[in-house]
């Protein structure tokens, strides 16, 4: 007996998870819930990567998106004391036209995407060595640039979020 039927089923479940999570992020009113569901989306996405045989990418996906980015966003939520608001204030004013535009672009693209036939090759061997090789040989310079970008982002975030000293002193006085 073969286990061929497993893959499509798993894929179906994962895609439902991905899309449902994404939709929930857009539609839910409670940001914390949205954040958690975003994490859920990321996890399902990691599953898809595994299904594609890119387990390293999947591991990074979980490590970075679930472990770091979601937590960061939760921080942001907690710091910007978000309060649930009436539906009236939920959508931007431009929503109708935006909806039209998005639909106009999305539907053709989604339909077009089915024109890719043929299945990706069976996962096997793992993608770590190949990935590492190309990152550290052909893409060494972009890799360095990316590190520089990260540094810049770090500095920028610190500069943006640190209070200036006067404010600091004021807070200390309040304490």
């Amino acid at each position: 007996m073969t286990f061929d039927f497993v893959e499509p089923v798993v894929f179906a479940l994962l895609s439902i998870g991905v899309i449902a999570g994404g939709a929930a992020v857009v539609l839910l009113n409670r940001i914390t819930a949205a954040a958690l569901l975003m994490a859920f989306t990321f996890l399902s996405m990691a599953g898809m990567f595994v299904l594609l045989g890119a387990e390293t990418i999947a591991a990074f996906q979980v490590l970075i998106y679930v472990g770091a980015i979601t937590v960061l966003i939760l921080y942001g939520v907690m710091f910007t004391k978000f309060s649930d608001r009436p539906r009236a204030l939920f959508f931007q004013r431009q929503t109708p036209i935006a909806a039209v535009f998005v639909a106009a672009v999305a539907i053709p693209v989604a339909l077009f995407s089915f024109s890719f036939t043929g299945a990706p090759p069976r996962p096997g061997g793992g993608d770590l060595p190949a990935l590492a090789t190309s990152v550290f040989t052909d893409f060494a310079f972009p890799f360095e640039i990316a590190s520089v970008l990260l540094l810049a982002a770090m500095v920028g975030a610190i500069v943006l979020t640190r209070r200036d000293d006067a404010e600091e002193a004021a807070m200390r006085r309040r304490r």
């Binding site: 931007q92 431009q94 036209i97 935006a98 535009f101 998005v102 106009a104 672009v105 053709p108 693209v109």
Partner: protein, 635 residues
């Protein structure tokens, strides 16, 4: 040893970096020691190199790395080591070393001690690059480098206005000269397709270009040389440069940098030889400068200025020698002059040091008892300057005038002789006013003291050099060691300098010695016997005297003519800039601002709208893509 030649400039460079980076904070007075040791090491190395060249390794090129390579324009950083450059290396490093030692004492109490040695090391580095370069471009790097250092060091005491202005003047004048140099090397590249000395000279022999071109090149190069070695018309920065510290005047403005022009002309001798009239121009300019500066030196009272003008005049001698086709004599005189003029400067420096900064000779006098070492060494140097046998100056200067005579430039010969008289007169005057007679300023005299050993030792060494150098390498005349050594490199291809017979030589020697004696005699008469009394002579000379004291009003001339003209041009271009260019730009800006007023309605400030715009763009792209894919818009 020659393979290690790159170490010679490396040591001063290292000293410069150390001093520049750590001098202020940590090293302090260590800087002087470090720099001195570094230069000493390079002196040792260059002695080694010299010996090796002596051993017969004439002309070896040591490539360091490829500097520029654009099309067929390729310049490499490499050292050309041949007798000429090795002699220069020797002179530069040895004199520099002695002067470094001296400076340790002279600058000891100066606040900018580390600064001084940092820049001095940088200067030595640049000078060595200039000397060792194997192509005109690299030489130009050193050329500019020494210019920069001379600017920095003249303005060393920038707190006072005079050094600052002097530095600026020197820099500007050097720039004018560099302009000539630049034109020269560019033309060289255009004509010969290379900047390498060796290649250029080879191609010159293979296929000589048009006279006019060569003349242009030579004139341009020589113009650069006049800028760097203070010849007419660009001489007037050198006397002002005396505002810098005395060791600087000794090293840069007597021994090494100012001679780089001579070196340049000697280095490109083949070009000049081939270029017909240019050599005569060199000689004439040199001669005129020589006598011109000597006359000014007659009446100066600032001891350093006297030395400065004498330097200008001696450089004139060297160019005279080059002009009359005796480059060996020129280099010979360069070497000896480096020694005795550096000695004169250091001596006057030690006098100034002893008198606590007093430079006016009218306030000196009777110092020979107070500072014997300085006195004796300076006496030797003065003798050398006055070309008394057997001191160094005699041999070299005698050769120059002799060459002028033998090669049939009688006018130049006459000028040389007259200048010799003037020279020996003003040197006698200077020495007398400084060391003999009664102390004119009792207070200064009482506080005068001999300089410390660290300063007197270099004096003594230089004095030894002054005494023995000439006879060592210049005897017998015309067949001395230096001729055998340098001759093959710089002599004219045709061997213009046919050695005259001994009688002529002796005759000429007697003549020039006689000239020296006469000058000294007049000096002694006027300043010892007071008949005629100098003041009386000055009064009698009247306008002529004033002309000399005011240095022929050259500076004023430059100010009024050239500077004014430059001002006018600058003003005109300023007006053009303001009204035409800026006006255009402003109109344009105004138009843009107006259109911006209209367009800024699009900037709603709401991020969502911008994102929506991106989306619209995506939609357009999609439509276009689909259209092309479906062939609606055609292929």
């Amino acid at each position: 040893m020659i393979s290690l030649v790159w170490l010679i400039p490396a040591f001063p460079l290292a000293a410069f970096l150390l001093g520049g980076l750590f001098g202020r904070r940590w090293l302090g007075h260590m800087t002087g020691l470090i720099a001195t040791v570094a230069v000493g090491l390079s002196a040792l190395l260059s002695i080694g190199v010299f010996l090796e060249v002596l051993g017969g390794k004439t002309q070896s090129v040591v490539p360091l790395y490829r500097w520029i390579a654009v099309g067929e324009f390729s310049v490499s950083v490499s050292a050309l080591i041949d007798p000429l450059s090795s002699v220069m290396l020797l002179v530069v490093t040895v004199v520099s070393f002695l002067i470094f030692v001296y400076s340790n004492g002279y600058m000891a109490h100066d606040a900018g001690f580390y600064r001084f040695f940092t820049w001095l090391s940088l200067f030595v580095f640049a000078m060595l690059i200039l000397v060792m370069a194997d192509n005109y471009l690299l030489m130009f790097v050193g050329w500019e480098g020494v210019g920069l250092c001379s600017y920095l060091l003249i303005g060393f005491w920038f707190e006072r206005p005079e050094p600052y202005y002097a530095a600026k003047k020197a820099f500007v004048m050097n720039r004018i000269g560099d302009w000539g140099y630049t034109i020269g090397i560019i033309t060289i590249f255009l004509v010969f397709g290379s900047m390498n000395f060796v290649d250029v000279f080879k191609r010159l022999e293979e296929s000589a270009p048009a006279q006019a071109t060569l003349t242009l090149i030579c004139i341009a190069l020589f113009f650069g040389a006049t800028g760097k070695s203070a010849q007419l018309p660009l001489y007037s920065w050198l006397p002002d440069a005396m505002e810098g510290p005395t060791p600087v005047s000794a090293l840069i403005h007597a021994a090494t940098m100012v001679t780089s022009g001579v070196y340049l002309v000697a280095r490109s001798m083949p070009l000049f030889e081939a270029a017909g009239p240019s050599l005569q121009i060199v000689g004439v300019v040199g001669a005129i400068t020589a006598i011109f500066a000597a006359t000014i030196a007659l009446v100066q009272f600032d001891i350093k200025r006297v030395m400065a003008y004498s330097t200008v005049s001696q450089l004139g001698y060297m160019f005279l020698a080059l002009g009359v086709g005796a480059p060996v004599a020129a280099i010979f005189h360069l070497a000896t002059h480096a020694f005795f003029k550096a000695l004169l400067f250091l001596g006057s420096g030690s006098v100034i040091h002893g008198l606590g900064g007093e430079q006016d000779m009218r306030k000196m006098g009777g110092l020979r008892r107070k500072m014997p070492v300085t006195f004796w060494t300076m006496l030797a140097a003065g003798g050398a300057l006055a070309a008394l046998p057997p001191l160094a100056g005699f041999w070299s200067k005698d050769e120059i005038v002799a060459a002028a005579f033998v090669n049939g430039h009688l006018v130049l010969y006459a000028i040389g002789i007259i200048t010799a008289v003037l020279t020996s007169f003003y040197v006698t005057r200077a020495l007398w006013m400084t060391f003999y007679g009664e102390p004119r300023d009792q207070h200064l005299f009482d506080h005068a003291h001999e300089s410390p050993t660290v300063m007197t030792l270099p004096l003594i060494l230089l004095g030894v050099g002054t005494v023995v150098l000439g006879i060592a390498i210049g005897f017998p005349p015309e067949q001395g060691f230096i001729h055998r050594f340098l001759g093959p490199v710089v002599e004219a291809a045709g061997g213009a300098e046919h050695a005259p017979e001994l009688a002529t030589i002796l005759l000429l020697a007697v003549a020039s010695v006689g000239a020296g004696i006469v000058g000294i005699g007049i000096g002694v008469l006027m300043y010892v016997r007071h008949r005629p009394d100098p003041a009386a002579v000055a009064r009698a000379a009247g306008p002529l005297y004033r002309l000399l004291v005011n240095k022929y009003y050259i500076d004023e001339l430059y100010d009024h003519r050239i500077v004014e003209a430059a001002r006018t041009i600058a003003g005109a271009s300023w007006a053009f800039d303001i009204h035409i260019i800026d006006g255009l730009a402003n109109r344009l800006g105004w138009a843009l601002a107006m259109s911006g007023q209209g367009l800024r309605r699009l900037q709603t400030g709401v991020v969502g709208n911008y994102a929506l715009t991106i989306m619209a763009g995506l939609l357009l792209m999609l439509v276009a893509y689909g259209g092309y894919a479906a062939g609606i818009f055609g292929r």
